[in-house]
């Protein structure tokens, strides 16, 4: 790519000190003067670059360092070491010129006024971000239409459903047309239909406003549908960065065959067909190469009397585990 990156991170490290409480009354008294700290490496030497207009997915398990990275990018956390540049700014200088150009949405927290209609929060953000009247009306109309929330923006936020609230959160964050958008678990807790609505919206927003979007999620679905590029983080380290399809091809080489046998057979017999993960008669789990999964399943059915067979995709967790394991071997 010839364009300059809009976000760049070099060797970012973020360590936290966590205070460990000792149990019991004695421990409580002791902690009055001496406290033990533990260092947690939330982000440990991560580098990447993101270019204008990209939608990048951050994948990782809970506590892998996704949110911490987003917070560093938003200027909410000061890095332990490393260089970070977003839109040409150091995020933690928290310059208003920088802050006017990005937005942060956190699925588990809300910025809307709880007791008031969402519209009031929109108006406050209009004032904060100095959005001119005409532009405000235009953007609001468009967002309201895209998300189909015309009827709810004048209802008290506390009376909205989680999904409706999330839609309003997104509008509040997007009224100033940010160039960069950080979405932290935007679909958390939502039902499948609402997840899809939000995904479609994020996609449409990216195309229409040419915004750069970073999205964290532990739902594979979000990332699969929205992001061409994915960054996988585990234990604070980047273990994969590239095309999402590559991950699946490379690391989800296998499918899972779950079998329930009628015949009494032994372990050895099954091991010929693939990597035996679990065996506890009558249940067995086999890992088989992706391409041959259907064929092997058919063979098993003819060779043995099988009560039930299931072919499953490995879960995102399993893929990441595999990724992480393979990473360890390289080191």
């Amino acid at each position: 790519m010839s364009e300059a990156p809009i976000i760049s991170i070099q060797n970012l490290k973020k360590y936290f000190k966590v205070y460990r409480k000792k149990p019991g009354l004695l421990g409580s008294i002791q902690s009055l003067w001496s406290r033990e700290y533990e260092e947690v490496k939330a982000v440990d030497d991560v580098s990447f670059e993101i270019y204008p207009g990209e939608i990048v997915g951050f994948i990782g398990q809970n506590g892998a360092g996704k949110t911490t990275t987003l917070k560093v990018l938003s200027g909410l956390l000061y890095p332990t070491s490393g260089e970070v540049s977003v839109l040409g700014f150091n995020p933690w200088d928290r310059k208003p010129d920088f802050q006017r150009q990005f937005a942060l949405v956190m699925g588990q927290k809300n910025q809307l006024w709880w007791d008031l209609p969402a519209m009031e929060s929109f108006l406050l953000n209009k004032a904060i971000y100095e959005v001119p009247d005409a532009e405000f009306d235009k953007t609001l109309d468009k967002l309201v239409e895209l998300l189909d929330v015309k009827d709810i923006i004048n209802v008290q936020v506390r009376k909205l459903s989680l999904g409706q609230r999330m839609k309003c959160e997104l509008i509040a964050a997007l009224l100033h047309s940010p160039k960069v958008l950080f979405l932290d678990e935007p679909t958390i807790g939502l039902d499948v239909v609402m997840q899809k609505v939000l995904r479609d919206f994020i996609k449409a927003y990216n195309q229409e406003f040419k915004a750069t979007i970073i999205l964290t999620s532990h739902y594979m679905g979000d990332v699969k549908e929205l992001c061409k590029r994915a960054i996988v983080i585990d234990h604070g380290q980047k273990i994969f960065d590239g095309d999402l399809q590559d991950i699946i091809d490379q690391f989800a080489r296998n499918k899972i065959l779950s079998l329930i046998m009628n015949d009494k057979i032994n372990q050895k017999q099954l091991e010929k067909y693939g990597q035996l993960k679990e065996f506890e008669y009558p249940k067995a789990t086999l890992l088989v190469p992706r391409a041959k999964a259907a064929k092997i399943a058919g063979q098993l059915l003819t060779d043995f009397s099988v009560a039930d067979v299931n072919i499953e995709e490995p879960t995102i967790d399993a893929i990441i585990r595999e990724l992480f394991l393979s990473q360890k071997k390289v080191h």
Partner: protein, 269 residues
């Protein structure tokens, strides 16, 4: 440059007035609570005033002041205390803002987070209380005001402003402590109790308490010195020093806040 500053000021004003509108509406939403608070505040104000007038019967002099002059100290305290509470009520909600993550949103937006937190919840109950009590105070102080020289009056006005700056600085310091300890309620109540001590002139307290009240937590400079200037009594601290300490204390508090924010963003999860 000047144009830019003006533009920023108008942005801050728009933001504040938007927030203030909601606070105003809320006051009427909970009108019973508001009424009871108002009543409670009036009783507190009335009882102390009553007490100070009442002790006239038995007490002629109090550390060189007459009971009438004691009233001047009390009303000065009342004025600065109410006006700062009225504007900075947001401080009292700070712990909740940190826990709920609101602080994170404030930090990511192009309005100074200190401004959002300090002035984020103007208290209209205090305003409703403030206006009549101020009018009443002026009425009670009428004698002192008329008999004061114009220098004393100007000095009083300047020191009231200085007192308000000190109150601002103290609220900022409370917030800085709140960031580090995640809870602000105790500190803010402690400040209020220290401040309550200056309903009476600080000169009555023994050392080292007096020095603490004048220079460590300068509530004494905030309340006692203005009243002493108005009454043309010997000052516990020279006028100029009171102002210098007041202004530098404000700078110090803002520096402390920035430092605390850096700690927060350096450590928080």
């Amino acid at each position: 440059m000047a144009h830019n500053v003006l533009r920023r000021l108008s942005v801050y004003w728009t933001v504040w007035s938007t927030i203030a509108q909601y606070a105003w509406a809320e006051t009427f939403l909970n009108r019973w609570t508001s009424a009871l608070f108002l009543l409670g505040k009036t009783i507190r104000f009335g009882m102390l005033l009553f007490f100070l007038t009442f002790i006239k019967q038995s007490v002629q002099t109090f550390d060189g002041y007459t009971p009438d002059q004691m009233v001047v100290f009390f009303l000065t305290y009342q004025f600065i205390d109410t006006s700062s509470q009225m504007l900075y009520r947001g401080v009292y909600e700070f712990s909740r803002k940190v826990q709920s993550g609101d602080l994170d949103f404030y930090l990511s937006k192009p309005i100074h987070p200190l401004f959002r937190i300090l002035t984020g919840k103007p208290d209209f109950i205090d305003l409703i209380f403030f206006i009549p009590t101020t009018v009443f105070s002026v009425y009670l102080l009428y004698g002192s005001l008329v008999s004061a020289s114009w220098q004393a009056l100007v000095g009083y006005a300047i020191l009231l402003v200085n007192g308000f700056l000190i109150a601002t600085a103290l609220h900022i310091l409370i917030l800085a402590i709140g960031i580090l300890s995640v809870q602000v309620d105790n500190v803010v109540m402690f400040y209020r109790d220290l401040n309550n001590m200056t309903r009476f002139p600080v000169s009555i307290y023994t050392e080292p308490i007096r020095t603490v009240l004048l220079f460590v937590v300068p509530v004494g400079l905030m309340n006692t010195i203005p009243a002493q200037v108005l009454l043309q009594k010997p000052l516990s601290v020279p006028y100029l020093i009171a102002c210098i300490v007041g202004v530098s204390f404000l700078f110090f508090s803002i520096k402390t806040w920035s430092w605390a924010i850096k700690q927060y963003t350096g450590a928080g999860g």
